[in-house]
């Protein structure tokens, strides 16, 4: 505590608190990222970071949310609250890193504002399994931002403790939103049940702790029966020396302190963060709040100068060893005459289990509890990092040669989607078709139109997976070749009507720009890409590990990008005509023949 505002009132415990917290975060990230890279060599750095920051923030939020109820259930956990705000801010920063990377990756580089894209790209709000999970994360992060921004004592003082407290209770809403974000996002994409089990376990532990602590608080709030104006609160012997007994009178908790042969009563609510003064201790003749060590004189409820905080006081009477309390509070800071009592010798220092952060050393029982919590939290975090990294879906070998520009030559075709025919060596004179796309989430139709049906040289970066190849064109990278031999013949093998089961993906991400580039977690990005003109593919997964790739077109090879958007990233059954054009497998469909086959 300080008389003026400083960014952080550092002391030994705060420094240790932050060191331990940072060590925990770094251990989590190192374990998750290290194991992910080792076990999944094809994972991209962006995906590893997005998952590392996101899961780390969620683990940290569980730790934070466990602290409050644990302190209500056992006050030896109280030192954990001392610097909890730093933990909250650190958790927000991790969440922000997760969100920034995800928004840039999934919603950036398209023709729509990335924030708008979060809400409109996947507009399947009426389906549970296809529900857009990213807006839930956005709202949760907004709440966490408001909390982090107002975490300083400046805001606490200016908003007043009750308003600040109510605002910060929105963390419960943020938690529920994040559970929804995980359930409707990652859990829908991952084949391992581990994330679902861990999420359910975390949710169960946090909910149980809060319900348990809430029920204990309810018992404390049982009103004492009054006799006239005054209320029989307790016996003098019920209170330990230098400690208080908390009773609920007239809708307010009153803390009755016994100290140095005297009794005084004040409101139980600390002016700082509404901490429970009655769980504090008399130190240096002052009531000391167990949360952050704010102090008040028991006789008048005023903080010692130069501090200015004040709490209401209550009048007391003693009758035959019983303490009676006047339920009408005095104005904050009003002096009341302490009731005098007889004390036994040596009674004054009977209870030493109290500690706040600015005290030099914590008592053993308290520190033991704090250590057990820290070890438990770190162990849980490490276990989550290890299990999560080991059980993620396999990452396929899909490559984007980002930043590596190559020059290739071939015959440029515009339809059904822009592609370059590159001659293969060998006797038969066949051609590889390399699809062409623009940078960002854009197709190359406009860029290549002036060069269509010509021999060209083009510069770009390769994207490839299995037997599919794509080139992301460098700006201005297409040039006509001087020599224009005859156009190549890419033979068409007549098609037949087939029903193919699979998933519609945007080929650019699926072929290698993102990994994973499919399933629910990638849905919004795939929609943006297909909307921007990236060729849509139906991918059919075979049980021998191969994937069949079908370029989706409408009748006569017309683009059907807009028509397939409602079906992206869902299990589908599509009836259409399958035919081959060189090495391109094309599925010509009527969008009316797309059928959802998921539950």
């Amino acid at each position: 505590m300080s008389t003026g505002y400083v960014s952080v009132g550092w002391n030994r415990q705060k420094k240790w608190y932050d060191r331990v917290m940072l060590a925990g975060i770094l251990i989590y990230l190192a374990l998750f990222l290290g194991l992910s890279m080792m076990m999944h060599p094809n994972i991209t750095a962006e995906t590893a970071l997005i998952r590392g920051f996101g899961s780390g923030a969620l683990v940290l939020l569980h730790v934070i949310l466990a602290m409050g109820p644990l302190c209500r259930l056992d006050n030896r956990f109280l030192p954990l609250l001392y610097n909890r705000r730093h933990m909250g801010v650190a958790m927000f920063v991790m969440g922000l890193a997760h969100a920034t990377l995800a928004v840039v990756q999934f919603h950036g580089f398209s023709d729509l504002n990335p924030i708008v894209s979060i809400f409109v790209s996947n507009a399947n709000y009426l389906s549970l399994t296809q529900f857009p999970f990213q807006p839930l994360g956005f709202f949760a992060l907004t709440i966490l931002f408001v909390m982090a921004a107002t975490s300083h004592d400046f805001w606490l003082a200016n908003l007043t403790a009750p308003v600040w407290k109510a605002l910060h209770m929105l963390v419960y809403v943020a938690y529920a939103l994040l559970i929804g974000h995980v359930v409707l996002g990652m859990i829908q994409a991952e084949s391992s049940p581990l994330i679902a089990i861990l999420t359910a376990l975390g949710c169960l532990i946090i909910s149980t702790l809060h319900i348990w602590a809430g029920s204990k608080e309810k018992q404390r709030d049982q009103e004492l029966a009054g006799n006239g104006d005054w209320v029989d609160a307790c016996s003098v012997d019920d209170i330990k020396e230098s400690r208080a007994r908390v009773v609920s009178i007239g809708g307010e908790r009153v803390a009755i302190f016994k100290y140095n042969g005297k009794l005084s009563a004040v409101s139980n609510v600390c002016k700082h963060q509404n901490g429970p003064l009655g769980e504090g201790k008399i130190i240096d003749d002052c009531i000391t709040c167990p949360w952050h060590g704010y102090q008040y004189k028991p006789e008048d409820g005023a903080s010692p100068p130069p501090f200015k905080e004040r709490v209401p006081t209550f009048n007391l009477r003693l009758k035959e060893g019983r303490i009676w309390v006047d339920p009408k509070p005095n104005a904050a800071g009003t002096r009341t005459e302490p009731q005098l009592i007889e004390t036994e010798n040596g009674d004054q220092h009977r209870d030493d289990s109290f500690y706040v952060g600015y005290m030099p050393k914590g008592p053993k029982p308290v520190m033991k509890r704090v250590r057990s919590f820290v070890v438990g939290a770190m162990g849980t975090g490490a276990a989550v990092a290890i299990l999560f990294s080991l059980t993620m879906n396999p990452f396929p070998a899909a490559v984007f040669e980002f930043g590596e520009v190559r020059e290739v030559q071939g015959y440029l075709k515009e339809h059904p989607h822009p592609h370059l025919l590159v001659e293969r060596p060998g006797e038969q004179g066949t051609w590889s078709a390399w699809y062409l796309v623009n940078q960002g989430k854009f197709g190359a139709a406009e860029a290549v139109a002036p060069f269509a049906n010509n021999w060209v040289s083009l510069k770009g970066s390769l994207i490839y997976r299995d037997d599919q190849t794509m080139v992301e064109l460098a700006p201005g990278g297409v040039k006509l070749l001087k020599q224009q031999p005859a156009a190549p013949i890419n033979p068409v093998i007549a098609g037949k009507t087939q029903t193919v089961r699979g998933e519609i993906v945007d080929s650019k991400c699926f072929f290698g720009v993102m990994n994973p580039g499919d399933l629910k977690v990638h849905k919004a990005c795939a929609i943006r890409c297909i909307q921007g003109g990236i060729p849509p593919f139906l991918v059919q997964r075979l049980d021998d590990g191969n994937v069949m790739y079908y370029l989706l077109t409408g009748k006569d090879g017309k683009s059907i990008n807009q028509e397939v958007i409602p079906y992206v990233a869902e299990p589908l059954e599509i009836k259409g005509i399958v035919f081959k054009k060189g090495d391109m497998a094309i599925l010509e469909i009527n969008p009316k023949n797309i059928k959802r086959v998921g539950r």
Binding site: T129, I179, L204, P396, V399, E427, W434, Q540, R541, P571
Partner: protein, 152 residues
């Protein structure tokens, strides 16, 4: 105010706890898994002729590729499997018999996919070299000499 907030807390957690539990259960049970299509395999009898391994260059190092030669319906097939993905673009599989440094006279068997793929050998071919060639990188990640003559 504090008692009101405590009341909100007491009300929130049982409701939110139940709602989150219901959401997790619904999310798990209604989850849509990607579909796996079974491959229609030939019912004709296969006769294994040989199984050989060779080293193939990947983008990061070296891996093992294996070739299984088998006959079916009087045709010889080569089934090619790589232990780790080669991570090279547009890998084509050739059958070369003339030993020339380029592939101009070689037979193109097909493209290499993500899983094992079988390629029929050109009619009458039993001795030659199986060559992998990345068209976009213009390099060969690996090759192996095969002589199936004595095995038929």
């Amino acid at each position: 105010m504090i008692r009101q907030l405590r009341g909100v807390h007491r009300l929130w957690w049982p409701i939110a706890g139940l709602a989150m539990a219901a959401l997790i259960i619904a999310g798990v049970f209604l989850k849509q898994s990607p579909q796996i299509t079974p491959v229609i395999r030939s019912t004709a009898a296969e006769k294994n002729l040989a199984e050989l391994q060779f080293e193939a260059q990947t983008a990061q190092g070296v891996t093992t590729a294996s070739v299984r030669a088998f006959s079916r319906d009087n045709h010889i097939f080569l089934e090619l499997t790589v232990a780790a993905p080669l991570k090279k673009p547009d890998i084509l599989v050739y059958w070369q018999t003339d030993g020339s440094p380029d592939l101009q006279n070689a037979w193109l068997l097909g493209g290499l996919g993500g899983g094992p793929r079988s390629f029929p050998l050109p009619h009458g071919q039993v001795k030659g070299k199986l060559v992998l060639f990345s068209l976009a990188h213009g390099e060969s990640p690996g090759n192996i000499d095969l002589n199936l003559g004595g095995l038929l």
